[in-house]
């Protein structure tokens, strides 16, 4: 088994210390940062994502694997930036204005990063203006929004309307999620996708970004 495969295996066990150590070892061996990322960290998180979707593992396992992923990313990040490493896509996510719930949104962010995407997490209580500004500043191709109150769901429609007014409707995809949100609501407001949970969110985002 080569070092990146060992990294992937340790990541799946949620062993952040081993992932960090093996990542540094792989770099010392001269393995390219991009190769370590793709064949170690992302490969490991892909298996985690599949197992999670198949209900073979559960949320705690995913979160421990994510911590291990970040432990491996730390030594790679400066090298990836120097190499001009291109993420597999860039997304802006946040919990909409009026809402402070963020556990689900945080999980989506973690899993999207695990899939190799660059995630700009705006946090919670995010206004439509902030969502759209973040997309314009970053060049992100997708907005992900979370809402856990029916009273805050209308903000999602406002974001989509603002994207249209700014001429971004065709350039920026929108995915929404949260307990009171539904596929029907997504269709009603013109969102591109509805995610029932974090695992399906990753699948939808990957599909929308092509």
């Amino acid at each position: 088994m080569q070092l990146p495969e060992h990294i992937a295996s340790a990541l799946q066990q949620g062993d952040d210390e081993t992932v960090a150590a093996l990542t540094r070892e792989a770099l010392e061996f001269g393995i390219a940062a991009r190769k370590i990322l793709d064949e170690g960290l992302i490969a490991g998180m892909n298996v985690i994502g599949e197992q999670f979707r198949a209900h073979e593992i559960f949320l705690p396992d995913v979160l421990l694997a994510a911590r291990a992923m970040y432990a491996g990313l730390d030594p790679l990040q400066p090298l990836l930036e120097r190499e001009g490493g291109v993420a597999r896509g860039k997304v802006v996510i946040g919990t909409v204005q009026g809402d402070l719930h963020d556990i689900g949104k945080n999980l989506v962010a973690i899993m999207l990063r695990g899939a190799g995407l660059e995630v700009i997490d705006l946090g919670n209580d995010v206004t439509p203006r902030r969502f759209v500004d973040a997309v314009q500043e970053s060049g992100a191709a997708l907005i992900g929004m979370s809402a856990l109150l029916t009273t805050t769901m209308p903000v999602m429609k406002e974001v989509i309307a603002l994207l249209a007014r700014e001429g971004l409707a065709k350039k920026v995809k929108v995915i929404i999620g949260g307990a009171p949100v539904s596929a029907e609501f997504a269709r009603e407001i013109g969102a591109d996708a509805y995610a029932y949970d974090a695992a399906s969110a990753v699948a939808h985002v990957q599909r929308l970004l092509g």
Binding site: V47, E56, L59, P60, L64, N106, L149, A179
Partner: protein
């Protein structure tokens, strides 16, 4: 003795301490620590990283057990459980229930509360510090501990609601107002067709600021780990409904079915 009640309650943290199994259930983990890992459907798949050997399964369960134990070890220092309870008559509650006029027409509570023997508005919280700690753990990438603590805090909040309901039942029994066959259930805005915007009317009638709970314009309660609603007391029959409303399709909890099964339990006396 009057059934009227308007009280502020302070609970000791260990009175709302969550059970390990309940914490794991909130995280979607089947079984409890120490139990054999449940096999997912089908044979274990083969290939690197895919085979779920029993040892790995046991390892994961043991790890969950450690995380639960860690959370329970420190949660008492993070919880500030408080509650308020205020009796309300059917006529005044009708206005609270109506809220801002956004309820689903068939919301079951609309046909339940007129038949109640007694009603009381309530709010309960475990306070803000635990949410601050959850945010800190997330920011330090300690995602698993953050999620475990979040689940534990949510469960503790629910247990505060249960403790509050027990207090109300004891009050009614002391008043001689509790009848054999009575059942006590809590209902909250945001569920079963009772629109979350009714929180505004509920907060105006209950004044939960007495325990530090406020309402944002979006009807989000702060601290985040807070609950509110109405306690309805009456014969079991008034609480029963068939959960086949339009809004049931979007419901993820289906807790109503469990609650109605529990109505058959006659141990409440």
């Amino acid at each position: 003795m009057s059934t009227a009640i308007d009280t502020r309650l302070v609970f000791a943290p260990d009175a709302v301490r969550p059970q390990p199994a309940a914490i794991l259930a909130r995280l979607g983990v089947p079984g409890a620590p120490g139990e054999a890992p449940a096999m997912s459907g089908g044979e274990p798949r083969h290939g690197p990283g895919r085979r779920e050997a029993p040892a790995a399964g046991w390892g994961r369960h043991a790890r969950n057990g450690v995380l639960v134990a860690e959370v329970l070890d420190r949660i008492d220092d993070l919880l500030v459980p408080r509650a308020v309870l205020r009796a309300i008559d059917v006529e005044r509650f009708a206005a609270v229930f109506a809220g801002e006029g956004h309820n689903a027409p068939e919301a079951p509570l609309g046909t339940i509360f007129p038949h109640a023997r007694t009603l009381a508005l309530y709010a309960a919280t475990v306070g803000g510090p635990v949410s601050v700690e959850i945010a800190r753990l997330f920011s330090e990438r300690d995602f698993a501990r953050a999620a475990f603590l979040d689940a534990a805090a949510s469960e503790a909040t629910e247990r505060a609601g249960i403790a509050l309901a027990d207090h109300y039942r004891a009050h009614l029994q002391a008043c001689g107002a509790w009848r054999r066959g009575d059942r006590l259930l809590r209902y909250s805005p945001g569920y079963c067709g009772w629109h979350v915007s009714a929180q505004r009317a509920l907060f105006a009638a209950l004044e939960p600021l007495r325990i530090g709970v406020t309402l944002r314009e979006s009807c989000l309660m702060e601290p985040l780990k807070s609950i509110s609603g109405v306690i309805v007391v009456g014969p079991a029959a008034i609480h029963r409904f068939e959960p086949d409303f339009a809004f049931c399709a979007a419901c993820r909890s289906a807790e109503c079915r469990q609650r109605m099964r529990a109505l058959e339990d006659d141990t409440e006396g």
